[in-house]
């Protein structure tokens, strides 16, 4: 589903990704772990197409489509979802309005009929319930006044509504207490653990992986994947540290 081939990327002229390759098939969940500064968030933003993250080499395809040739909104319509480490607050724009516009913009690109107000609210209510989020919170301005944990749950509600085929979740577990971690983990499974979908989890810690069991674990260091393995690799990293395992 997602093929990253020898990807190089710079931020403010500084090389961060240095020949990263990764292949993810439909139905799989992959976790990328790695020390601070390894390039984990840069990978997420580069896949999302954030301005300032410049690809200087390599290729990325999503379901055979050249992802790097697409603008951020086109990547979303092509099935990509980027879960932000730090979701952005947007005063004055309600979640409901924003997400309905987003869902219908994507449907338009794909040649699908727009959702009516009623259909959208039904969908939003269902996904909010999945993440145990009060529907009233979605009537508030985007992320404004939300706690760290609420922002992450709201990210997952968005993912549920937009129904992507591939999700990159950048430290979705940071800022979560134990209960919220379980709710978010179960939400990811319910939304994305399907034969025609795939997930790339970016995380520092093993704990999210207790709830969302990865099929593959990779260690990112110095801008490339230095080691890959099964779920046991995450446990080994937790015990021995990045330096010992990735050396």
């Amino acid at each position: 589903m997602l093929q990253i081939n020898n990807l190089f990327a710079t931020v403010a002229d500084k090389p961060i990704l240095k020949g990263l390759s990764l292949s993810i098939n439909a139905g799989e969940i992959h976790a990328i772990m790695g020390p601070n500064g390894a390039g984990k968030s840069t990978l997420a933003y580069t896949l999302g197409g954030r301005p300032g993250y410049e690809v200087t080499g390599g290729s990325v395809t999503l379901a055979g489509q050249d992802l790097l040739a697409l603008a951020p909104h086109e990547r979303a319509a092509a099935g990509l979802f980027l879960g932000f480490q730090y979701p952005v607050e947007i005063p004055g724009v309600s979640f409901v309005q924003f997400l309905r516009e987003a869902a219908n913009s994507q449907r338009k690109v794909r040649g699908e009929e727009p959702l009516s107000g009623g259909e959208f609210l039904k969908l939003a209510r269902e996904k909010a319930a999945l993440l145990r989020m009060d529907m009233d919170m979605l009537k508030r301005p985007v992320n404004v006044g939300f706690s760290g944990g609420e922002k992450k749950r709201a990210e997952m509600v968005q993912m549920g509504i937009l129904d992507p085929s591939f999700a990159v979740l950048d430290e979705t577990d940071s800022g979560l207490d134990i209960d919220a971690l379980r709710i978010v983990g179960e939400g990811i499974n319910a939304i994305m653990r399907k034969p025609d979908k795939a997930v790339l989890l970016i995380t520092h810690y093993q704990r999210l992986l207790d709830y969302v069991k990865p099929d593959f674990v990779h260690v990112l260091a110095g801008g490339r994947i230095v080691k890959s393995g099964g779920p046991e690799l995450a446990l080994q990293l937790e015990e021995e540290g990045y330096e010992a395992v990735a050396a």
């Binding site: 909104h73 319509a77 979701p87 952005v88 004055g92 924003f98 987003a102 994507q106």
Partner: protein, 245 residues
């Protein structure tokens, strides 16, 4: 009166940023006088959507306990100037919510002078400008509090958003206070759309244009919040914002 009829010059502070050539074509500007009798409430919405040069001068007298709610949406004129003088007697309340949405070489300006003549009157002004191309948006707002006008409560909130490096925003909130025990707040900011917010919206599937339009709609919303015809003003503004992005 003859003094009023002479065409202003750049040295005249209230006309410092005007398009004086355009102004000459509509000079002198008639005074539109509005009296709100004691205890009564009136509202007025001005949608300035005509092309060419437009200049208006409203003079509003609010008697004791009167309320006046003025909303302005200005986006059509090559040169559009709306001057508002409001004089507030005891306990009167004046609201101005205005949005100026300019592009091309438009010059849009709102010039106000709100005078609290007697105690316990309140005034609240919310001005939002969105400027693209080489457009200029100006707000000059003077709040005067007369001797003895204790308990005055006045607020000016002025913000401008520049969509291009060649657009200009001028903002000058000004206070002249001759009384004690008054509350006068003012704030003023000129900025650009938040790039991080735009990317966040786009990453969810909004086109760059729609993302900008949504953020600008939010930016001007406060100007029309609580207006009797809030939805109509918002819809008109949204359509115009669609042309600016």
């Amino acid at each position: 009166m003859s003094e009023l009829l002479a065409l202003p010059t750049r040295k005249d502070e209230a006309f410092r940023y005007s398009d004086l050539d355009a102004l000459a074509g509509v000079w002198p500007v008639a005074r539109e006088e509005i009296l709100v009798p004691s205890g009564q409430s009136t509202s007025l919405s001005i949608v300035e959507d005509t092309a060419g040069a437009v200049a208006r001068h409203l003079v509003i007298e609010l008697e004791a306990g009167a309320t006046f709610d003025l909303r302005i949406l200005s986006f059509g004129a090559a040169f559009g100037r709306i001057a508002v003088d409001a004089r507030l007697r005891e306990g009167a309340s004046f609201t101005l919510g205005a949005a100026q949405l300019g592009s091309g070489a438009q010059v849009l300006e709102i010039v106000t002078e709100v005078t609290h003549e007697e105690p316990n009157a309140s005034s609240r002004q919310v001005i939002r400008s969105v400027l693209a191309g080489q457009a200029t948006g100006t707000y000059l707002g003077k709040v005067a509090v007369a001797r003895g006008a204790v308990g005055t409560d006045s607020e000016q909130s002025v913000r401008a958003m520049l969509l291009s490096r060649t657009a200009t925003a001028n903002a000058k909130p000004e206070l002249e206070i001759y009384a004690d025990d008054v509350k006068c707040a003012h704030g003023c900011a000129v900025g650009e759309l938040d790039a991080q917010g735009l990317f966040y919206l786009e990453s969810r599937g909004l086109t760059p244009e729609l993302a900008k339009q949504l953020m600008l709609q939010a930016f001007i919303a406060e100007a029309f919040s609580g207006a009797a015809d809030e939805e109509r003003l918002q819809a008109l503004a949204l359509a115009r914002l669609g042309e600016l992005v």
